[in-house]
């Protein structure tokens, strides 16, 4: 069930250049799942559409969103203060399947602004499963949420410029550390997800990847945010599926990216 309601900013701060951490009090927090997202509505009349923002953590009475300023809407959010109102709709999407990690070695991969949604997943998996490794990948030493991950799971880091951890991307970190995942959970830029899909297929392992696409409605009505699928989709009856409704998390083999 989704709700559309007025939330209130509990706290907002900058974590790194252009990266903001905003906690929003709302009732969506009562049942949000790791890997789901919410629509946040800018107030400026020059904008129209809500912004799909991944849920970073589910707290008591609030959702934590960590986002990058990418345009007018996120720029507006970044200027909010505690106590400001913000309209929210969600929680949206399927989220990551937690059961797939049961008794297995789970590796969580996040790249850039794809790092935040794997935090709540790391927290919930670490409560149930012991063998959880997280690898957030960053451009440089402007790392965010690293300490948060360290609270929950074994955390390795990749940086593109090599300023911390493995030099390169999250796949380089897997190879460098000799990690052999049974199941992968990932969110990040398309080249990273393509590499993960290829790796998972070559090694015959499950990989749950979270996709993003330009979106309008967030409820499955507009058909703006589709991804090509291997098999015809049960809802659309063509080889396209809605990222907002059937996703955003897909088993990598199901989608053609």
């Amino acid at each position: 069930m989704k709700k559309y309601e007025m939330g209130k900013v509990r706290e907002i701060k900058s974590l790194a250049p252009g990266i903001f951490d905003m906690k929003v009090e709302c009732t969506l927090s009562e049942y949000a799942l790791p890997g789901q997202f919410a629509m946040l509505y800018p107030k400026s009349a020059s904008t129209l559409l809500p912004r799909p923002i991944s849920i970073c953590e589910v707290e008591k009475g609030a959702l934590r969103f960590v986002f990058r300023v990418a345009g007018k809407g996120t720029k507006e959010f970044s200027g909010y203060s505690a106590g400001d109102e913000i309209r929210v709709m969600g929680p949206i999407g399927n989220g990551y399947p937690l059961d797939a990690a049961k008794g297995r070695k789970a590796v969580l991969l996040g790249g850039g602004i794809g790092v935040p949604p794997i935090l709540e997943l790391a927290r919930q998996l670490s409560e149930k499963e012991s063998d959880v490794t997280v690898i957030p990948g960053y451009r440089d030493s402007n790392m965010f949420l690293k300490e948060d991950f360290e609270k929950y799971a074994k955390t390795l880091v990749a940086t593109e410029d090599g300023s911390f951890g493995t030099k390169g991307n999250v796949m380089d970190a897997i190879r460098e550390n000799g990690i052999k995942p049974d199941v992968i959970y990932a969110c990040g830029p398309m080249p990273m997800l393509k590499a993960i899909k290829k790796y998972a297929e070559e090694n015959g392992i499950e990989a749950y990847i979270s996709l993003e696409e330009r979106m309008a409605c967030g409820v499955g009505a507009c058909l703006g945010c589709v991804v090509k699928t291997k098999e015809p989709d049960h809802h659309s009856h063509v080889n396209n599926t809605r990222i907002c409704t059937e996703g955003p998390v897909f088993e990598a083999r199901e989608v053609e990216i």
Partner: protein, 300 residues
Amino acid sequence: MNTKVTIAGVEFKNPVTTASGTFGSGMEYSEFVDLSKLGAVTTKGVASTPWPGNPTPRVCEVYGGMLNAIGLQNPGIDVFCERDIPFLKNYDTKIIVNVCGKTVEEYVAVVEKLADQPVDMLEINVSCPNVKEGAIAFGQDAKALENITKEIKKAAKQPVVMKLSPNVTRIADMAKAAEAAGADAISLINTITGMKIDIERRKFVLANKTGGMSGPAIKPVAVRMVYEAAHAVNIPIIGMGGIATYEDAIEFILAGATMVAVGAYNFVNPNATVEVVDGIEDYMKRHGIEDINSIRGAVE
């Protein structure tokens, strides 16, 4: 107080419906909206066979609005009849089915399949700017529009609404062509063809290069076109284009619309349709209007 309106013998409890493509088949918004409160639900365009639509990105925001180039992705008429119509029959609202095709034969095939279905009205999409074949070709040439309208009228069992494109030189000519060919009503406007360029990457934002613009910024164009069409024909008009609030809806009614449709604004406020219904009633009370039909075209 009367909010009922009638088009071609079909009575709607109020003049508010949804713009095709912005509301799915109603199912997607039923978590937020009591569909029984709407005069009608107008469904996403449906073709004779499933259509995959265009590559992504399909949508983007522009100042005061958005562009879309979905390309009429739809599951085809058979799935629509099995799944979407029965769902909508659970609600006390009228059903307007938007029909699309690439050839006259494809449109007629859908219309024939709908003949024995419990739907109230057909809206014929001859104005989608995002599909190369057919579609808009019928909507930008008065002769072609007249021809397809005649063919559809021959096959249709329900009243036929022709949905017109704003991407024409004279909307009045298109409205007259639809009326002359026997259309029971017209709806306008479909989206206005637009384009957005990403200057950092020097690329089109939409994979389709062009897209249809909708949202609050197009409303003045839509109101003007509804007004011009209303003065050109005697058949009823369903007005749409940038409606966000009841004030917008009243503007369209004053310009000559019998019904109005909320489109892209559903994405901004999932409750927009019901808020427009309630707002119209409040407006009528405030102005002592007994019958919504009494203010149609009443602009001076």
